[in-house]
């Protein structure tokens, strides 16, 4: 699943913008990798165990456990997202980090978008400035996508 932004238009200005991290390994790819490793490891360990060399089994099991933990850790974060929902005068920022979901609500009219680039067109930072505080956005996006996010928010925010 490649990261990026997905914009769903729900009204003339109202919309839902979702940003996700870049995960190049698909669910089926993950199953394939784990299954192949499990087959090789368990097959080898069982054959040697049948020959009497059973101490290979616990090491193979331990290693498989570590591999599983590593892939579990990856899976925990692949469903992370950052969602900005604009409905009427309300702006809702929702973030998922592993199992933690954080939600904050702002007034659309008072929010301001900040786009800062260290060098022109590179290492850009997007933030939402409201009530004297800044919330950084787009941590899953690249510079190009952050700039696009900033422009999308720019014309949807504020009250004329």
């Amino acid at each position: 699943m490649y990261g990026g932004i997905q914009i769903t238009q729900t009204g003339p200005v109202d919309c839902c913008i979702t940003a996700r991290p870049n995960c190049s390994l698909s669910r089926s790819g993950k199953i394939l990798v784990l299954a192949s490793l499990f087959l090789i490891l368990s097959g080898t360990a069982w054959v040697f165990a049948m020959m009497g060399a059973w101490p290979i089994l616990p090491f193979a099991g331990l290693e498989m456990l570590v591999v599983l933990l590593a892939f579990y850790q990856i899976s925990c974060h692949e469903r992370d997202y950052e969602r900005i929902t604009i409905v009427g005068n309300k702006l809702v920022l929702e973030r998922r980090d592993n199992v933690r979901v954080m939600r904050s609500e702002y007034n659309r009219c008072w929010a301001q978008v900040v786009l800062q680039c260290r060098t022109v067109g590179q290492q850009c930072r997007v933030a939402l400035r409201t009530h004297g505080a800044e919330q950084e956005l787009g941590r899953h996006l690249n510079d190009e996508q952050r700039t696009e996010l900033a422009h999308q928010l720019e014309w949807r925010l504020g009250c004329q």
């Binding site: 490649y2 990261g3 990026g4 870049n22 995960c23 190049s24 390994l25 790819g29 993950k30 990798v33 490793l37 090789i40 490891l41 080898t44 360990a45 040697f48 020959m51 009497g52 060399a53 101490p55 290979i56 089994l57 616990p58 090491f59 193979a60 331990l62 290693e63 570590v66 591999v67 590593a70 892939f71 850790q73 990856i74 692949e78 929010a111 301001q112 978008v113 900040v114 786009l115 800062q116 680039c117 260290r118 060098t119 022109v120 290492q123 400035r129 996006l141 690249n142 510079d143 190009e144 996508q145 952050r146 900033a150 422009h151 928010l153 720019e154 925010l157 504020g158």
Partner: protein, 524 residues
């Protein structure tokens, strides 16, 4: 509402001092640590080789007791494999894989730190064995029982060191697999990955598949030594030959663990200096996969003289010969890449060309040894020593030199001294052949390996080999000077460094900033 645009020219801040290196989770720092560790251990194990060649300069005992000679040959093998070649390739992987796939770092940076810092501990244990009563292990790097069951305290320490190095390798491999599979930049499909990344992905698979076998084997040695089991102790009904099967089931894939990343490095360098894309990229990927799969079914060729049924001998002979097919595909593709290329011969390319020629020679002598009746004649002779040194020195080690010269400007931001680099190359390639080529003749004439003394008729070839060895050893100091000079200063390297270089790492400034690709680039 207006979007605020601001430009702030921030600096690339990173920690400094000793704690930076101890606590670092940055892939470039850890890559650097691996590479320095490998270089230090190269000189440690190289010094042992110098002592071995000094002793073998003349027949009779010259400088040391036979026991100490055996300790040197064992430790030279163990340290060169686990302390030099493997860490050096892991160093390359740490530096290059995230840069090549457009990832900000490795998938598990803290685990990356642990997997490095386990290595110096293991190295201290290995070298520390020399200072224990009875000296270091002396039964050969293969750790065969019954010798390994009967030895002193150093054998326990050796088992512990192997366990630690295994744990380090497993953690490193899991990190590499998850990084390559899950952190590739958008657009970088599997078949767009650089060959170096492919070869490391397959190497990491091999490591994960074989390390539990090694861990189990050395644990059984330990329990045989101290806990009254008889896995390999014939006196108690155990089977020492089973250890050989188990060891070589790990050991032969290990050979490919030592050479597949070398194939990857060479596959990056040759297209750059031939100014042509790699010929037959897909076939290179499939050949690497085939070699990895075949590596699991050829272990018996290390044990032809142990005794096995004719059907077993035939199976292992033919399966071993089969490996020549995908390896041949690779050699053909490297040559085809160079064919009609606009070639220049900077130091990395010189080492790469030498790799292709000399590794092929090592491959051919491997084919000779694959033939069962021939192997029975040549088993444990210097022919075998010549064969694996052609594979591991002119193969693995030369590819490490090639890779170091190739990426050094990207790592340090300075061009290395090309004159010294070429001097290092020519001295190394000539002396390496003076050192190892006569060993073929010694082996064919029947000189056994792992002996400190020999019959008079072997003197001349041994003297030639020793002279070659001393020149080879001394010429490696030039490499150290080149590296230190490039680290300290020199001509500023450009971002792309080499005219024909392709890949994401060359889009970055030289030296590569401390943090790179914090957001994924788009690969078209």
């Amino acid at each position: 509402m207006d979007a605020t645009h601001a430009h702030d020219h921030g600096h690339d801040h990173h920690p400094s001092g000793l704690m930076r290196w101890i606590k670092t989770t940055n892939h470039k720092d850890i890559g650097t640590l691996y590479l320095w560790f490998a270089l230090i251990m190269f000189f440690v194990a190289g010094s042992m080789a110098m002592m071995i060649r000094a002793e073998l300069f003349e027949p009779g005992m010259q400088f040391m007791h036979p026991e100490f000679f055996n300790q040197l040959t064992t430790m030279h093998g163990l340290i060169m494999i686990f302390g030099v070649i493997m860490p050096a390739f892991t160093g390359f992987a740490n530096w290059q894989v995230p840069l090549m796939i457009g990832a900000p770092d490795m998938a598990f940076p803290r685990m990356n730190n642990w997997s490095f810092w386990l290595l110096p501990v293991a190295a201290i244990f290995l070298i520390g064995e020399f200072f224990l009563p009875g000296g270091a292990v002396a039964g050969g790097w293969t750790m065969y029982p019954p010798l390994f069951i009967q030895g002193g305290m150093s054998y326990d320490l050796n088992i512990f060191a192997v366990h630690i190095m295994g744990a380090s390798s497993i953690m490193g491999s899991i990190n590499i697999i998850t990084t390559i599979l899950n952190m590739r930049a958008p657009g970088m499909t599997m078949m767009k990955m650089p060959m170096f990344v492919w070869t490391w992905l397959i190497t990491a698979y091999l490591l994960i598949a074989t390390m539990p076998v090694l861990a189990g084997a050395v644990t059984m040695l330990l329990t045989d030594r101290h806990f009254g089991t008889h896995f390999f102790n014939a006196a108690g009904g155990g089977d020492p030959v089973m250890f050989q099967h188990i060891f070589w089931f790990f050991g032969h894939p290990e050979v490919y663990i030592l050479i597949l990343p070398a194939f990857g490095i060479i596959s990056q360098i040759i297209p750059t200096f031939a100014r042509k894309p790699l010929f037959g990229y897909a076939s290179m990927v499939y050949a690497t996969g085939s070699i990895a799969i075949l590596s699991f079914i050829v272990w018996g060729h290390h044990m032809f003289t142990v005794g096995m049924p004719a059907a077993g001998q035939l199976f292992f002979m033919y399966s071993t010969m089969l490996i020549a097919v995908p390896t041949g595909v690779k050699v053909f593709n490297w040559v085809a890449t160079m064919w009609k290329g606009s070639m220049t011969f900077e130091t990395p390319m010189l080492f790469a060309v030498a790799f292709v020629c000399l590794f092929t020679m090592g491959g051919f002598s491997g084919l000779v040894l694959a033939i069962t009746p021939v192997d029975i004649q040549l088993q444990d002779t210097y022919y075998v020593v010549a064969h694996f040194h052609y594979v591991l020195v002119s193969g693995a080690l030369f590819s490490i030199f090639a890779g170091a010269y190739y990426w050094l400007p990207k790592w340090t931001g300075h061009m290395y001294d090309e004159k010294l680099g070429k001097l290092h190359f020519w001295l190394s390639v000539i002396s390496m052949n003076i050192l190892f080529f006569p060993m073929h003749f010694l082996g064919l004439a029947g000189m056994p390996r792992r002996i400190p003394d020999y019959a008079l008729q072997f003197t001349q070839f041994n003297q030639i080999a020793s002279i070659g060895g001393f020149i080879f050893g001394a010429s490696q100091l030039i490499f150290l000077i080149v590296v230190l000079k490039a680290v300290r200063g020199g001509a500023k390297a450009t971002d792309k460094v080499w005219e024909g270089a392709e890949g994401l790492e060359w889009t970055l400034p030289s030296p590569a900033p401390y943090h790179t690709f914090e957001t994924a680039p788009m690969v078209k």
